[in-house]
Amino acid sequence: MPSFEYDVVVVGAGPSGSMTARYAAMGGCRTLLIEKRQEIGSPVRCGEGLARHFVEDTALPFDRKWVGREVKGAKIFSPDGTELTIEEEHAGNEVGIVLERDAFDKAVAKEAAKAGADIWLKTTATAVLKDDGWVRGVRAKRLEDEITITAKCVVAADGYESQVGRWAGFNTRLKAGDITGTLQYRLTNIGPGHDFPDYCEFWLGTVAPAGYIWVFPKDEITANVGIGVSLDRLKHRHDIKGFLDRWIAKDPRMRRAQPLDMVTGGVSTSPPVSKSVGNGIALVGDAARMIDPITGGGIGNGITAGMILGKVLSTCNEAGDFSLEALQAYEKAWRAKLENNLYRNWLAKNKLVTLTDQEFDDIVKILAEVGVTKLSVRAILQVLKQHKPALVAKFAEFI
Protein backbone atom coordinates (compact mmCIF):
# COMPACT_ATOMS: atom_id res chain seq x y z
CA MET A 1 0.00 0.00 0.00
CA PRO A 2 1.57 3.33 -1.07
CA SER A 3 2.30 5.54 1.89
CA PHE A 4 2.83 9.28 2.21
CA GLU A 5 3.99 11.44 5.06
CA TYR A 6 3.00 14.99 5.96
CA ASP A 7 2.92 17.24 9.01
CA VAL A 8 -0.74 18.08 8.55
CA VAL A 9 -3.42 16.38 6.45
CA VAL A 10 -6.67 18.27 5.98
CA VAL A 11 -9.69 16.19 4.96
CA GLY A 12 -12.07 18.28 2.88
CA ALA A 13 -11.30 21.29 0.68
CA GLY A 14 -14.25 23.48 1.61
CA PRO A 15 -13.62 27.00 2.90
CA SER A 16 -12.74 25.84 6.44
CA GLY A 17 -10.37 23.11 5.30
CA SER A 18 -8.65 25.27 2.70
CA MET A 19 -8.29 28.14 5.16
CA THR A 20 -6.73 25.77 7.72
CA ALA A 21 -4.35 24.40 5.08
CA ARG A 22 -3.44 27.92 4.00
CA TYR A 23 -2.43 29.13 7.45
CA ALA A 24 -0.76 25.83 8.37
CA ALA A 25 1.32 25.92 5.18
CA MET A 26 2.14 29.60 5.70
CA GLY A 27 3.46 28.70 9.15
CA GLY A 28 5.81 26.11 7.69
CA CYS A 29 3.87 22.82 8.05
CA ARG A 30 4.15 20.34 5.20
CA THR A 31 0.44 20.33 4.46
CA LEU A 32 -1.77 18.09 2.33
CA LEU A 33 -5.34 19.00 1.48
CA ILE A 34 -7.49 16.11 0.21
CA GLU A 35 -10.87 16.41 -1.49
CA LYS A 36 -13.11 13.54 -2.52
CA ARG A 37 -14.70 15.32 -5.47
CA GLN A 38 -13.21 15.87 -8.88
CA GLU A 39 -13.57 19.63 -8.56
CA ILE A 40 -13.20 21.95 -5.59
CA GLY A 41 -16.36 23.96 -4.91
CA SER A 42 -18.59 22.03 -7.26
CA PRO A 43 -21.35 21.01 -7.05
CA VAL A 44 -22.35 23.92 -4.81
CA ARG A 45 -24.22 23.03 -1.64
CA CYS A 46 -24.99 26.36 -0.13
CA GLY A 47 -27.32 29.37 0.00
CA GLU A 48 -24.21 31.51 -0.57
CA GLY A 49 -24.81 34.44 1.80
CA LEU A 50 -21.79 35.90 3.62
CA ALA A 51 -21.09 39.03 5.64
CA ARG A 52 -18.24 41.14 4.33
CA HIS A 53 -16.22 41.37 7.53
CA PHE A 54 -15.29 37.66 7.50
CA VAL A 55 -13.38 38.17 4.28
CA GLU A 56 -11.32 40.95 5.82
CA ASP A 57 -10.89 39.06 9.12
CA THR A 58 -9.26 36.12 7.37
CA ALA A 59 -7.19 38.27 4.98
CA LEU A 60 -8.67 36.67 1.89
CA PRO A 61 -7.78 38.75 -1.18
CA PHE A 62 -11.04 40.20 -2.51
CA ASP A 63 -11.94 39.12 -6.02
CA ARG A 64 -15.03 40.08 -8.04
CA LYS A 65 -15.02 36.58 -9.48
CA TRP A 66 -16.59 35.04 -6.40
CA VAL A 67 -19.10 37.81 -5.76
CA GLY A 68 -22.47 36.97 -7.29
CA ARG A 69 -24.20 40.08 -6.04
CA GLU A 70 -23.86 42.65 -3.31
CA VAL A 71 -27.17 43.32 -1.57
CA LYS A 72 -28.45 46.33 0.36
CA GLY A 73 -29.68 44.29 3.29
CA ALA A 74 -32.27 41.76 4.34
CA LYS A 75 -36.03 41.53 4.33
CA ILE A 76 -37.97 39.36 6.74
CA PHE A 77 -41.51 38.31 5.84
CA SER A 78 -44.06 37.09 8.35
CA PRO A 79 -46.64 34.48 7.34
CA ASP A 80 -49.27 37.14 6.51
CA GLY A 81 -46.82 38.99 4.26
CA THR A 82 -45.76 41.81 6.59
CA GLU A 83 -42.36 43.00 5.47
CA LEU A 84 -39.46 44.07 7.68
CA THR A 85 -36.50 45.66 5.95
CA ILE A 86 -33.09 45.74 7.57
CA GLU A 87 -30.34 47.72 5.89
CA GLU A 88 -26.98 46.05 5.58
CA GLU A 89 -25.09 47.94 8.25
CA HIS A 90 -27.46 46.48 10.85
CA ALA A 91 -27.88 43.01 9.48
CA GLY A 92 -25.22 41.29 11.55
CA ASN A 93 -23.77 38.05 10.39
CA GLU A 94 -25.14 36.50 7.28
CA VAL A 95 -25.87 38.94 4.49
CA GLY A 96 -23.89 41.46 2.49
CA ILE A 97 -22.39 39.38 -0.26
CA VAL A 98 -24.13 36.63 -2.20
CA LEU A 99 -21.23 34.47 -3.25
CA GLU A 100 -20.44 32.32 -6.22
CA ARG A 101 -19.51 29.46 -3.92
CA ASP A 102 -17.74 27.35 -6.53
CA ALA A 103 -15.42 30.26 -7.35
CA PHE A 104 -15.10 31.16 -3.66
CA ASP A 105 -14.00 27.66 -2.63
CA LYS A 106 -11.47 27.65 -5.45
CA ALA A 107 -10.18 31.07 -4.38
CA VAL A 108 -9.54 29.85 -0.83
CA ALA A 109 -7.91 26.66 -2.13
CA LYS A 110 -5.76 28.81 -4.41
CA GLU A 111 -4.50 30.72 -1.37
CA ALA A 112 -3.68 27.39 0.30
CA ALA A 113 -1.72 26.30 -2.78
CA LYS A 114 0.10 29.65 -2.92
CA ALA A 115 1.09 29.15 0.71
CA GLY A 116 2.63 25.81 -0.24
CA ALA A 117 -0.02 23.19 0.53
CA ASP A 118 -0.40 20.13 -1.72
CA ILE A 119 -3.90 19.44 -3.01
CA TRP A 120 -5.18 16.02 -4.11
CA LEU A 121 -8.55 15.58 -5.76
CA LYS A 122 -10.61 12.38 -6.04
CA THR A 123 -9.11 11.32 -2.73
CA THR A 124 -11.63 10.00 -0.22
CA ALA A 125 -10.66 9.34 3.39
CA THR A 126 -11.95 5.92 4.37
CA ALA A 127 -10.57 5.45 7.88
CA VAL A 128 -8.40 7.12 10.48
CA LEU A 129 -5.21 5.46 11.69
CA LYS A 130 -5.31 5.19 15.45
CA ASP A 131 -2.56 4.11 17.76
CA ASP A 132 -2.40 4.27 21.53
CA GLY A 133 -4.92 7.11 21.93
CA TRP A 134 -3.38 9.08 19.07
CA VAL A 135 -4.56 9.73 15.57
CA ARG A 136 -1.61 9.07 13.26
CA GLY A 137 -3.09 9.74 9.84
CA VAL A 138 -5.78 8.57 7.47
CA ARG A 139 -6.35 5.76 5.05
CA ALA A 140 -7.71 6.97 1.74
CA LYS A 141 -8.70 5.95 -1.73
CA ARG A 142 -6.88 8.08 -4.30
CA LEU A 143 -8.17 7.42 -7.80
CA GLU A 144 -7.68 3.64 -7.99
CA ASP A 145 -5.14 3.28 -5.19
CA GLU A 146 -5.65 2.49 -1.54
CA ILE A 147 -3.12 4.68 0.26
CA THR A 148 -2.11 5.63 3.75
CA ILE A 149 -1.21 9.17 4.68
CA THR A 150 0.58 9.49 7.98
CA ALA A 151 0.48 12.90 9.57
CA LYS A 152 1.31 14.50 12.87
CA CYS A 153 -2.13 16.07 12.84
CA VAL A 154 -5.32 15.19 10.99
CA VAL A 155 -7.77 18.04 10.44
CA ALA A 156 -11.38 16.88 10.04
CA ALA A 157 -12.97 19.46 7.76
CA ASP A 158 -15.36 17.02 6.14
CA GLY A 159 -18.44 19.16 6.55
CA TYR A 160 -21.87 18.16 7.74
CA GLU A 161 -21.14 14.44 7.38
CA SER A 162 -18.44 14.76 10.03
CA GLN A 163 -17.35 11.15 9.66
CA VAL A 164 -13.62 11.58 10.25
CA GLY A 165 -14.35 12.94 13.72
CA ARG A 166 -16.71 10.04 14.42
CA TRP A 167 -14.16 7.48 13.31
CA ALA A 168 -11.68 9.09 15.69
CA GLY A 169 -14.13 8.74 18.56
CA PHE A 170 -15.70 12.19 18.77
CA ASN A 171 -19.41 12.44 19.38
CA THR A 172 -20.72 14.47 16.46
CA ARG A 173 -24.21 12.97 16.53
CA LEU A 174 -27.18 15.31 16.29
CA LYS A 175 -30.69 15.18 17.69
CA ALA A 176 -33.58 15.31 15.24
CA GLY A 177 -34.49 18.82 16.42
CA ASP A 178 -30.97 20.02 15.63
CA ILE A 179 -30.94 18.78 12.04
CA THR A 180 -32.25 20.80 9.13
CA GLY A 181 -32.78 19.31 5.70
CA THR A 182 -32.40 21.82 2.90
CA LEU A 183 -33.32 22.07 -0.75
CA GLN A 184 -32.60 24.99 -3.05
CA TYR A 185 -33.28 25.83 -6.65
CA ARG A 186 -31.43 28.49 -8.55
CA LEU A 187 -34.43 30.02 -10.27
CA THR A 188 -34.23 32.39 -13.19
CA ASN A 189 -36.83 34.54 -14.95
CA ILE A 190 -38.12 35.84 -11.61
CA GLY A 191 -40.45 38.81 -11.91
CA PRO A 192 -40.23 42.11 -10.01
CA GLY A 193 -41.67 42.72 -6.53
CA HIS A 194 -40.51 43.21 -2.92
CA ASP A 195 -37.51 45.22 -4.21
CA PHE A 196 -36.04 42.12 -5.82
CA PRO A 197 -33.05 41.81 -6.46
CA ASP A 198 -31.65 44.21 -3.88
CA TYR A 199 -32.33 42.30 -0.66
CA CYS A 200 -31.86 38.83 0.75
CA GLU A 201 -35.28 37.57 1.78
CA PHE A 202 -36.26 35.34 4.68
CA TRP A 203 -39.81 33.94 4.82
CA LEU A 204 -40.94 32.67 8.23
CA GLY A 205 -43.76 30.54 9.58
CA THR A 206 -45.43 27.28 8.63
CA VAL A 207 -44.29 27.65 5.01
CA ALA A 208 -41.10 26.12 6.42
CA PRO A 209 -41.77 24.48 9.80
CA ALA A 210 -39.01 25.28 12.30
CA GLY A 211 -36.95 26.73 9.49
CA TYR A 212 -37.30 29.36 6.81
CA ILE A 213 -37.42 29.95 3.08
CA TRP A 214 -34.70 32.12 1.61
CA VAL A 215 -34.44 34.10 -1.60
CA PHE A 216 -30.88 35.29 -2.23
CA PRO A 217 -30.56 37.25 -5.49
CA LYS A 218 -27.79 36.33 -7.92
CA ASP A 219 -28.56 38.77 -10.74
CA GLU A 220 -31.47 40.86 -12.04
CA ILE A 221 -33.77 37.90 -12.64
CA THR A 222 -32.04 35.00 -10.88
CA ALA A 223 -31.97 33.95 -7.24
CA ASN A 224 -31.19 31.06 -4.93
CA VAL A 225 -34.59 30.04 -3.62
CA GLY A 226 -34.29 27.48 -0.88
CA ILE A 227 -35.88 25.98 2.19
CA GLY A 228 -34.70 24.53 5.46
CA VAL A 229 -37.03 22.40 7.56
CA SER A 230 -36.23 20.85 10.91
CA LEU A 231 -36.10 17.05 10.79
CA ASP A 232 -38.51 16.66 13.71
CA ARG A 233 -41.22 18.38 11.65
CA LEU A 234 -40.85 16.00 8.72
CA LYS A 235 -42.98 12.90 8.46
CA HIS A 236 -42.60 11.45 5.00
CA ARG A 237 -40.21 11.04 2.14
CA HIS A 238 -40.23 14.09 -0.20
CA ASP A 239 -41.75 16.39 2.47
CA ILE A 240 -39.08 19.09 2.07
CA LYS A 241 -39.54 19.31 -1.69
CA GLY A 242 -43.30 19.57 -1.22
CA PHE A 243 -42.98 22.54 1.14
CA LEU A 244 -40.72 24.48 -1.25
CA ASP A 245 -42.69 23.65 -4.40
CA ARG A 246 -45.93 24.79 -2.78
CA TRP A 247 -44.40 28.09 -1.69
CA ILE A 248 -42.93 28.80 -5.13
CA ALA A 249 -46.29 28.04 -6.75
CA LYS A 250 -47.91 30.70 -4.55
CA ASP A 251 -45.42 33.54 -5.14
CA PRO A 252 -46.53 35.63 -8.14
CA ARG A 253 -42.93 36.65 -8.91
CA MET A 254 -42.03 33.02 -9.55
CA ARG A 255 -44.90 32.21 -11.89
CA ARG A 256 -42.67 31.89 -14.96
CA ALA A 257 -39.47 31.10 -13.09
CA GLN A 258 -37.39 28.14 -14.24
CA PRO A 259 -34.62 26.26 -12.41
CA LEU A 260 -30.97 26.40 -13.46
CA ASP A 261 -29.75 24.05 -10.79
CA MET A 262 -30.82 22.18 -7.72
CA VAL A 263 -28.90 21.92 -4.47
CA THR A 264 -29.56 19.77 -1.42
CA GLY A 265 -27.87 19.30 1.89
CA GLY A 266 -28.01 18.83 5.61
CA VAL A 267 -27.38 21.64 8.07
CA SER A 268 -26.74 21.29 11.80
CA THR A 269 -28.57 23.74 14.03
CA SER A 270 -27.02 22.41 17.21
CA PRO A 271 -24.58 23.85 19.71
CA PRO A 272 -20.93 23.25 18.70
CA VAL A 273 -19.25 19.93 19.54
CA SER A 274 -18.30 19.64 23.19
CA LYS A 275 -14.75 18.65 22.28
CA SER A 276 -13.01 19.60 19.05
CA VAL A 277 -9.43 18.39 19.58
CA GLY A 278 -7.68 15.18 20.49
CA ASN A 279 -4.15 13.81 20.28
CA GLY A 280 -3.20 14.47 16.66
CA ILE A 281 -6.64 15.53 15.46
CA ALA A 282 -8.76 18.68 15.28
CA LEU A 283 -12.26 19.35 13.96
CA VAL A 284 -13.13 22.53 12.10
CA GLY A 285 -16.12 24.13 10.37
CA ASP A 286 -19.36 22.23 9.86
CA ALA A 287 -17.63 19.06 11.09
CA ALA A 288 -17.34 20.75 14.50
CA ARG A 289 -20.94 21.98 14.20
CA MET A 290 -19.96 25.64 13.99
CA ILE A 291 -23.01 26.59 11.94
CA ASP A 292 -25.13 29.39 13.38
CA PRO A 293 -28.28 27.62 14.67
CA ILE A 294 -30.61 30.48 13.74
CA THR A 295 -29.44 31.48 10.28
CA GLY A 296 -27.85 28.20 9.23
CA GLY A 297 -24.84 30.15 7.96
CA GLY A 298 -21.47 28.48 8.40
CA ILE A 299 -18.94 29.92 5.94
CA GLY A 300 -17.89 32.86 8.10
CA ASN A 301 -17.47 30.84 11.29
CA GLY A 302 -15.73 28.08 9.36
CA ILE A 303 -13.06 30.28 7.78
CA THR A 304 -12.54 32.14 11.06
CA ALA A 305 -11.95 28.88 12.94
CA GLY A 306 -9.84 27.57 10.05
CA MET A 307 -7.53 30.54 10.31
CA ILE A 308 -7.18 30.05 14.07
CA LEU A 309 -6.49 26.33 13.65
CA GLY A 310 -3.91 26.89 10.90
CA LYS A 311 -2.00 29.31 13.10
CA VAL A 312 -2.12 26.97 16.10
CA LEU A 313 -0.88 24.07 13.94
CA SER A 314 2.08 26.20 12.90
CA THR A 315 3.05 26.79 16.52
CA CYS A 316 2.53 23.11 17.31
CA ASN A 317 4.78 22.21 14.40
CA GLU A 318 7.56 24.47 15.63
CA ALA A 319 7.39 22.81 19.03
CA GLY A 320 6.96 19.35 17.45
CA ASP A 321 3.96 18.77 19.72
CA PHE A 322 0.49 17.99 18.35
CA SER A 323 -0.90 16.55 21.57
CA LEU A 324 -4.32 17.30 22.99
CA GLU A 325 -2.75 19.81 25.37
CA ALA A 326 -0.97 21.71 22.60
CA LEU A 327 -4.09 21.80 20.42
CA GLN A 328 -6.13 23.19 23.31
CA ALA A 329 -4.90 26.61 22.18
CA TYR A 330 -7.15 26.22 19.12
CA GLU A 331 -10.11 25.02 21.14
CA LYS A 332 -9.79 27.94 23.54
CA ALA A 333 -9.38 30.54 20.83
CA TRP A 334 -12.31 29.51 18.64
CA ARG A 335 -14.61 29.08 21.61
CA ALA A 336 -13.67 32.54 22.87
CA LYS A 337 -14.60 33.97 19.51
CA LEU A 338 -17.66 31.95 18.48
CA GLU A 339 -19.10 29.78 21.22
CA ASN A 340 -21.15 32.28 23.23
CA ASN A 341 -22.97 33.44 20.17
CA LEU A 342 -23.55 29.91 18.85
CA TYR A 343 -24.88 28.67 22.15
CA ARG A 344 -27.14 31.65 22.72
CA ASN A 345 -28.53 31.38 19.22
CA TRP A 346 -29.18 27.67 19.74
CA LEU A 347 -31.19 28.40 22.88
CA ALA A 348 -33.09 31.15 21.08
CA LYS A 349 -33.72 28.84 18.11
CA ASN A 350 -35.31 26.28 20.40
CA LYS A 351 -37.80 28.98 21.45
CA LEU A 352 -38.28 30.38 17.95
CA VAL A 353 -39.40 27.01 16.60
CA THR A 354 -42.30 27.04 19.06
CA LEU A 355 -43.78 30.29 17.69
CA THR A 356 -47.06 30.14 15.79
CA ASP A 357 -47.79 31.99 12.57
CA GLN A 358 -49.88 34.49 14.57
CA GLU A 359 -46.96 35.21 16.89
CA PHE A 360 -44.59 35.69 13.95
CA ASP A 361 -47.11 38.12 12.41
CA ASP A 362 -47.35 40.14 15.63
CA ILE A 363 -43.60 40.25 16.14
CA VAL A 364 -42.74 41.28 12.59
CA LYS A 365 -45.53 43.87 12.57
CA ILE A 366 -44.20 45.57 15.69
CA LEU A 367 -40.63 45.49 14.44
CA ALA A 368 -41.69 46.92 11.08
CA GLU A 369 -43.47 49.77 12.87
CA VAL A 370 -40.74 50.74 15.30
CA GLY A 371 -37.84 49.84 13.03
CA VAL A 372 -34.83 47.73 13.89
CA THR A 373 -31.46 49.37 14.08
CA LYS A 374 -29.54 46.26 14.98
CA LEU A 375 -30.33 42.74 13.90
CA SER A 376 -29.34 40.59 16.81
CA VAL A 377 -31.60 38.31 18.78
CA ARG A 378 -31.04 40.37 21.91
CA ALA A 379 -31.70 43.73 20.30
CA ILE A 380 -34.93 42.48 18.76
CA LEU A 381 -36.15 41.05 22.04
CA GLN A 382 -35.46 44.30 23.82
CA VAL A 383 -37.51 46.24 21.29
CA LEU A 384 -40.36 43.76 21.66
CA LYS A 385 -40.25 43.90 25.43
CA GLN A 386 -40.76 47.64 25.37
CA HIS A 387 -43.75 47.44 23.04
CA LYS A 388 -45.50 44.20 23.81
CA PRO A 389 -44.01 42.31 26.76
CA ALA A 390 -46.54 39.47 26.56
CA LEU A 391 -45.13 38.41 23.20
CA VAL A 392 -41.68 37.81 24.50
CA ALA A 393 -42.54 36.11 27.78
CA LYS A 394 -41.11 32.90 26.33
CA PHE A 395 -37.77 34.62 25.86
CA ALA A 396 -37.48 36.21 29.30
CA GLU A 397 -34.08 34.72 30.01
CA PHE A 398 -32.50 36.23 26.88
CA ILE A 399 -33.36 39.84 27.60
Binding site: K36, R37, Q38, P43, R45, T124, K141, G159, Y160, E161, S162, Q163, R166, T172, R173, L174, A176, I179, G181, T182, L183, L231, L234, K235, H236, R237, H238, D239, I240, K241, M262, V263, T264, G265, G266, S268
Partner: protein
Protein backbone atom coordinates in the same frame (compact mmCIF):
# COMPACT_ATOMS: atom_id res chain seq x y z
CA UNK B 1 -50.53 6.64 -26.00
CA UNK B 2 -47.88 5.66 -28.58
CA UNK B 3 -45.69 2.77 -27.63
CA UNK B 4 -42.07 3.44 -26.59
CA UNK B 5 -39.57 2.24 -29.17
CA UNK B 6 -36.92 1.36 -26.62
CA UNK B 7 -36.62 1.61 -22.86
CA UNK B 8 -33.09 2.51 -21.84
CA UNK B 9 -33.63 3.28 -18.18
CA UNK B 10 -32.23 0.56 -16.03
CA UNK B 11 -33.67 -0.09 -12.56
CA UNK B 12 -32.42 2.74 -10.39
CA UNK B 13 -33.43 1.49 -6.95
CA UNK B 14 -30.82 -0.49 -5.09
CA UNK B 15 -32.22 -2.44 -2.19
CA UNK B 16 -29.80 -4.38 -0.01
CA UNK B 17 -32.45 -5.45 2.46
CA UNK B 18 -31.26 -2.84 4.96
CA UNK B 19 -32.45 0.29 3.14
CA UNK B 20 -33.34 1.17 -0.45
CA UNK B 21 -31.70 3.98 -2.43
CA UNK B 22 -32.89 5.48 -5.69
CA UNK B 23 -29.63 6.28 -7.49
CA UNK B 24 -31.38 8.45 -10.06
CA UNK B 25 -32.76 10.74 -7.35
CA UNK B 26 -29.72 10.84 -5.04
CA UNK B 27 -27.79 14.13 -5.20
CA UNK B 28 -24.83 12.84 -3.13
CA UNK B 29 -25.24 15.75 -0.72
CA UNK B 30 -24.45 13.83 2.44
CA UNK B 31 -27.47 15.03 4.42
CA UNK B 32 -28.24 11.40 5.37
CA UNK B 33 -24.62 10.64 6.32
CA UNK B 34 -24.35 13.43 8.87
CA UNK B 35 -27.83 12.67 10.18
CA UNK B 36 -27.34 8.93 10.73
CA UNK B 37 -27.08 8.27 14.49
CA UNK B 38 -25.15 5.02 14.02
CA UNK B 39 -22.82 6.15 11.20
CA UNK B 40 -24.12 3.30 9.06
CA UNK B 41 -24.10 5.22 5.77
CA UNK B 42 -21.06 5.64 3.57
CA UNK B 43 -21.01 7.91 0.57
CA UNK B 44 -18.46 8.36 -2.11
CA UNK B 45 -19.20 10.56 -5.07
CA UNK B 46 -20.81 7.75 -7.00
CA UNK B 47 -23.03 5.88 -4.62
CA UNK B 48 -24.39 5.54 -1.15
CA UNK B 49 -24.26 2.36 0.92
CA UNK B 50 -25.78 1.22 4.18
CA UNK B 51 -24.08 -1.27 6.47
CA UNK B 52 -25.27 -3.56 9.26
CA UNK B 53 -25.06 -0.83 11.90
CA UNK B 54 -28.32 0.56 10.47
CA UNK B 55 -31.26 0.38 12.87
CA UNK B 56 -33.86 1.46 10.28
CA UNK B 57 -34.68 4.47 12.47
CA UNK B 58 -35.80 6.37 9.38
CA UNK B 59 -34.08 9.69 10.05
CA UNK B 60 -32.35 9.52 6.67
CA UNK B 61 -35.65 8.80 4.92
CA UNK B 62 -37.13 12.02 6.27
CA UNK B 63 -34.06 14.24 5.98
CA UNK B 64 -33.33 13.37 2.35
CA UNK B 65 -34.48 16.53 0.53
CA UNK B 66 -35.26 14.66 -2.68
CA UNK B 67 -36.72 11.49 -1.20
CA UNK B 68 -34.02 9.17 -2.53
CA UNK B 69 -33.94 6.86 0.50
CA UNK B 70 -36.66 4.49 1.59
CA UNK B 71 -37.20 1.42 3.74
CA UNK B 72 -36.44 -1.85 1.94
CA UNK B 73 -38.99 -3.79 -0.05
CA UNK B 74 -41.41 -5.59 2.22
CA UNK B 75 -40.93 -3.19 5.12
CA UNK B 76 -44.27 -1.90 6.37
CA UNK B 77 -43.24 1.74 5.92
CA UNK B 78 -41.84 1.34 2.38
CA UNK B 79 -43.43 3.75 -0.09
CA UNK B 80 -41.05 3.56 -3.05
CA UNK B 81 -42.26 1.70 -6.12
Amino acid sequence: MPEAAAVAIRPSVRDNGIMAIDDMLCMHCGACVGTCPTNAIFLNEVYLTFNEDCTQCGMCVKVCPVGAIDYPRGHKLATMR
